[in-house]
Symmetry: C3
Subunit: 134 residues, 3 copies
């Protein structure tokens, strides 16, 4: 059994969706692991990480829809910061995905891309990639 770990660093804008698929694929390639699982986790509480299509209009639709559901201004009680909305969006969208690895490739469907969503930038963000298998 082998394990392999790397971190991806991102410098983000205020709000931004960043496609990190090719970076994860490069890490998987370097790992040499052929069969197993690849975990990709954002290590932050005001960002999200999910898999879906990378299309400009759709990214606007996502940002607008979650802003309507969980507005930035809403009489929140969260201490010290004005970013409660970003925390709650993060909880709902999730902070990580696990992807099957077969023949040293990520098992992603035709339109599936790994997307990082900054909800409270600009910041320096760190994403943990961990691959286990053989």
């Amino acid at each position: 059994m082998k394990t392999y770990s790397k971190h991806i660093a991102l410098n983000t804008e205020k709000k931004e969706i960043i496609n990190i698929t090719s970076r994860v694929q490069m890490i998987l390639h370097d790992s040499g692991i052929k069969e197993g699982m690849c975990l990709v986790n954002s290590m932050h509480t005001t960002s999200a990480l999910f898999i879906n299509e990378d299309e400009q209009g759709l990214k606007q639709d996502l940002l607008k829809t979650i802003e309507e559901l969980i507005p930035q201004e809403n009489d929140y009680k969260h201490f010290g910061d004005d970013n409660a909305h970003a925390h709650i969006k993060s909880m709902i969208l999730g902070r990580g995905v696990t992807i099957a690895v077969s023949e040293n490739k990520l098992e992603l469907g035709q339109w599936e891309q790994i997307m990082f969503l900054e909800l409270d930038g600009p910041r320096t963000r760190k994403i943990a990639v961990k691959i286990i298998g053989e």
Copy 2:
């Protein structure tokens, strides 16, 4: 260490929730893996995969509630298709689950079932099942 992979194929209706638990259990049985993890991933951007109870009324409640939160018609910008709502529902519900495997069984609670949700059918869908362990 062992790994084992299979795909489940589904032919879906326009909107539909399909219980795939017994199919995943059969794959786990065939794998012979006793202790480890089982990953179940929908490979599509307009479907979802989650774990919850399989009850007719509850399935209607879920479809109605997510339609109220993310309506099918809403001035979306997504290019080419009219299914932005399905993408956003998919992002929020998620496209995969990871389940503990103990004594060659899925560690699911009494009411927990693995449910596939078609949001933009009818289509042929593919679900990746990957088990690693020993």
Copy 3:
């Protein structure tokens, strides 16, 4: 390759968010596994499990926001129980997380804590922790 399993038992209030990070860290420590993955799954259909900050005001904000999005009373069809809202909140927030394990430590960011959310208590709840690696 090693695997290690434990269950965490919780006695919950009606609605409650419980930080279980230190209990998961203790299980990881006992496992002796240095590199791998740690799966934490709530085994119930009316609770949720996610990673975010443990701050009193933010916990109130989360409970209030999800109650506004998915109200307890809403003409649900779910048979027998009046807890459809709890099921749907569970589907949206998710019932599990997978965390990278490096040097026998959970790879969590500075503010990240593992949080269990009771949506339909009081109950006795069981959380499966499974670690695989070496």
